[in-house]
Symmetry: C2
Subunit: 232 residues, 2 copies
């Protein structure tokens, strides 16, 4: 227990600016690393690495993205989404990790990340935004609206899923994809990448099954206590 550190908001204020940003960003835990595909008014395609894709609902299927404040430098992704009305979300996988991370490089407006980072454009009916062919799980979305979070100017973008594209062998019987098989990549903070190893799929326990719940809670709790007493 002596290794547990507590930091208050005042401690956080005294940290180096970049260290603090990495620390706070990583504290929310692991997030999916995704490439957002768009196309600009100049017809140049764009890819940008995001880790803020958030499920908002399934009916209609809505997803949110968070973009840095509009006051900071031109936001190609946001501008392209608004002007064309479409974007794609493509899971980063192990085979394209370095290329995906490289999409964060500040390329110029007329330079496509697809060309510069050796990734391949793919198009599907009705979605006027490029998919990443090398990705195993992708969605095509239609832009719904965006608005600023008043506290810090971050832009929340809401999109509706219009098309999904995935490898059939990755889908489980309950409808959930298996991201160990798709080698999808999680990210913490801005820089640290993780592979996923599936532990298990747990069923929802309803009120008629309280005995099962009590037993499984007790089993895990006993196991942990045993492990702790072994260490002592």
């Amino acid at each position: 227990m002596s290794e547990i550190a507590i930091k208050t908001v005042d401690d956080l204020k005294n940290l180096d600016r970049f260290y603090r940003a990495n620390f706070i960003n990583s504290m929310v835990g692991s997030k999916q690393a995704s490439l957002i595909g768009t196309v600009g008014k100049n017809s140049c395609t764009n890819l940008s690495l995001f880790s803020s894709t958030t499920h908002l609902g399934s009916n209609p299927p809505l997803i949110a993205l968070f973009s840095r404040p509009a006051t900071k430098e031109p936001k190609q992704t946001l501008n392209n989404i608004i002007s064309t009305g479409f974007f794609t979300i493509n899971h980063v996988n192990e085979g394209i990790l370095v290329r995906s991370h490289s999409c964060s490089f500040k390329f110029l407006d007329h330079e496509s990340e697809f060309d510069s980072c050796a990734l391949t454009e793919e198009y599907h009916d009705g979605i006027t935004a490029p998919f990443v062919k090398e990705s195993f799980v992708s969605m095509g979305l239609e832009y719904r609206r965006h608005f600023p979070i008043e506290e810090n100017g971050v832009i929340m973008i809401i999109g509706e899923v219009k098309l999904v594209r995935y490898n059939k062998q990755y889908i489980q019987s309950n409808g959930e994809l298996n991201f160990e098989r798709s080698k999808s990549i999680a990210v913490a903070g801005n820089n640290t990448y993780y592979g996923l190893n599936k532990i298990k799929t747990l069923d929802y326990i309803d009120r008629s099954q309280k005995k099962i719940l009590t037993k499984s809670v007790q089993d895990e709790s006993n196991k942990t206590s045993k492990e702790i007493s072994k260490e002592v």
Copy 2:
């Protein structure tokens, strides 16, 4: 390539309701599994499993949570956050996975998930919400505001980080925590849990380093092509 499946929005509409919900929710990829700790007006503590914690900014340190529509059943977590002004976010780890998942069971208002699921309350100065002692990475937050997403009534809750609690040995030199060491758990959809294995921390590449970028992109691309040609 023949294994790639495409589903349009009409295909999605024809899926079984629960299958579709699992599918769409899991498509956004892996998310951090966290227990949200609160206390009710009746002084009973509450824990609820969320996978929607989203980083909104580091200065001030803001985090968003998404709660199901307020019209559906009493939302203890949301009500407790509003009435006390505080909540905690605690990473689920491998040792408490079953107990954390069990917090989704519909306990009654006067039943604490801490007792029912064999987890331990811990308190820190100024935060009137319980931390999960068994968690290795936790935050104490002050409620800022909440509002409904008009498209589907989902409630977005914004909180400000006031205290962080973590094991010192999990922090990397750049400020990011190592979630392989903390055995933090990711979740996809509502039911499938993953462990994280760290692949690498990649540095940001600035404009002066374009040669490095070009080489690393080329190296990965060649490697992948080689692997593909090996398979053929």
